[in-house]
Symmetry: C2
């Protein structure tokens, strides 16, 4: 079994390559839920949905989130309520766009959770509704909420990411609820043949998973079988604020900085060809380094990257991939 530690878009693209390289039934993605949110009474899990929609090829390829052929009638109709919303109310926000078809996913999740189902049960049902073989699990069934500290105060992750378009300096990040949360299933880490840390934001996508009690120690114990893919290429994030956030929080926004963050939990870092001149700098951080094509917007790259990743470390029990 291959375990992928996953955030949203970058992880989803990596996973879509991985299922071309190995049988999907041998892949489990454990997905960040720190940026889950509640809007309009609905329970929303953006990273889980991005992974599910991407793997089922239902994702809108232009936006990278939400469903294809989407319409926005519900969101458009919310505009009517803006003039009557009292001062101080945050009802009917329009900055977080929910497509009409996408709403059905949130309706189902919300209703099942209110019936007492766990997030992992609902996530698996939704995965099956999208006819996927890959196992998709939330990092925890307990609520963990990423809060971003700004100079002006603290905001929930989605307010930073979507409403403020991650264009404001970050002074800190906190994973509220993490310290009392339980990891979804310790055996996922213990029993995985290979663990891949997907090319996701190290701080706000992978960070919440590492913050769950026991996960960091469990990953350290599996360091020899763990490979990470750098989300930083040539000093920049391919998508999102990872590069600026790394700088703002005292890290180096390069593959070397990524290596330093992941060295305790992985033995190999895959970096892009563009950073090939940094291989020895990465290795001086104590991890093996492989330079290859990692920019998955080009056809075929996700699959070849996944093949490199699964071959990058020795497999527990001597398995080889692909079978």
């Amino acid at each position: 079994m291959i375990l992928v530690i996953a955030g949203g878009v970058g992880a989803a693209r990596f996973l879509s390559g991985l299922v071309q390289a190995v049988p999907p039934s041998e892949v489990t993605a454990v997905v960040n839920t720190g940026d889950d949110t509640e809007l309009h009474g609905l329970s929303i899990s953006p990273d889980i949905d991005t992974v599910t929609y991407t793997l089922s090829q239902s994702i809108d390829p232009e936006r990278g989130w939400g469903l294809r052929n989407e319409t926005w009638r519900a969101m458009e109709s919310l505009a009517r309520f803006e003039p009557v919303r009292p001062a101080g109310s945050s009802a009917a926000p329009r900055w977080f766009n929910l497509g009409d078809q996408d709403l059905a996913t949130h309706f189902y999740r919300t209703a099942r959770l209110s019936e007492g189902a766990t997030l992992s049960e609902v996530t698996d049902e939704i995965r099956r509704a999208f006819e996927l073989e890959v196992r998709i699990v939330p990092m925890s069934n307990d609520p963990v909420r990423t809060v971003v500290h700004l100079e002006s105060g603290s905001v929930p992750f989605q307010e930073y990411f979507v409403r403020l378009q991650h264009s404001v300096p970050v002074t800190g990040v906190e994973f509220v609820g993490a310290s009392t949360s339980r990891f979804i299933d310790d055996s996922l880490i213990t029993n995985a043949d290979t663990i891949v840390i997907a090319p996701s934001n190290p701080i706000v996508s992978i960070g919440p998973i590492r913050a769950i009690p026991g996960v960091e120690e469990a990953l350290r114990a599996r360091r020899e079988h763990t490979v990470a893919v750098s989300p930083i290429v040539a000093g920049a994030a391919l998508k999102g604020p990872a590069d600026r956030m790394l700088v703002e929080l005292g890290h180096e926004p390069t593959v070397v900085g990524v290596a330093r963050m992941y060295a305790p939990i992985c033995s190999t870092l895959i970096i892009d060809q563009q950073d090939a001149h940094l291989v020895s700098a990465v290795e001086s951080e104590g991890v093996r380094c492989i330079a290859t094509d990692t920019i998955m917007s080009k056809p075929g790259v996700a699959k070849s990257l996944a093949e490199v990743a699964v071959r990058a470390t020795p497999k527990q029990g001597g398995h080889t991939w692909p079978a």
Copy 2:
């Protein structure tokens, strides 16, 4: 001020005539919330929405509920989850149709209620969002839920009305929560110049309002200024199950039966021309009777009916309508 005791479609049509007959700012509708429901995590108030949408001419004229030019993408997308919904789960029901534009109203209501706003505050905000001058108030800010007893067991009102299409015999009706609920504002009844009981289902639309402690007594005290419009014409309900429900629960499904139910709280009953031969039978129940056109699907009838209604009883304080 004219107070209209209102259910859904019939009351909404009467109100749309009334605002042509008198200044809308002098009209208050107190609306049944016994058939409110929660679906997908959303708070839904069908009668309030029907009144609001009808008065703002946003209603779909064919269906009589929901918004014009509606689409159903969210509902259609729910179908995906039916195969994976566990046995015993009622998540993602598709029998209660919610249009994509209509969802925005439920999003706003749900978010405001979860912020701590009362249903009357939210209802007023939504009324203003639809640019209405008529005051629309829920019968109570406390939850009252109409439960329909069937031979096979009990179901919430919307399950009877929508899912079962009110095609099963009713053995009883119960207003859960009514006995501990508070009427929205006693002064509405005390201070109204005229009170009109709209042509709504006497049992499940007007019944919940009468079941709130104090309302029946307050209405009895205002009997001389109260007029009702019969929802039964020629022995049948114009819409919905009122006729069968009257029979099943031991009432007579005629204007005489309606007169008997309303005699304690109204001094005048308006019936349709088709029932003109029953005027003296109605009056033998102790109410004055006026026969006129009441079928509001014909143009102009709602306005003329409203004019008859506001002139039907002496006004408190000697006011006359229209001003």
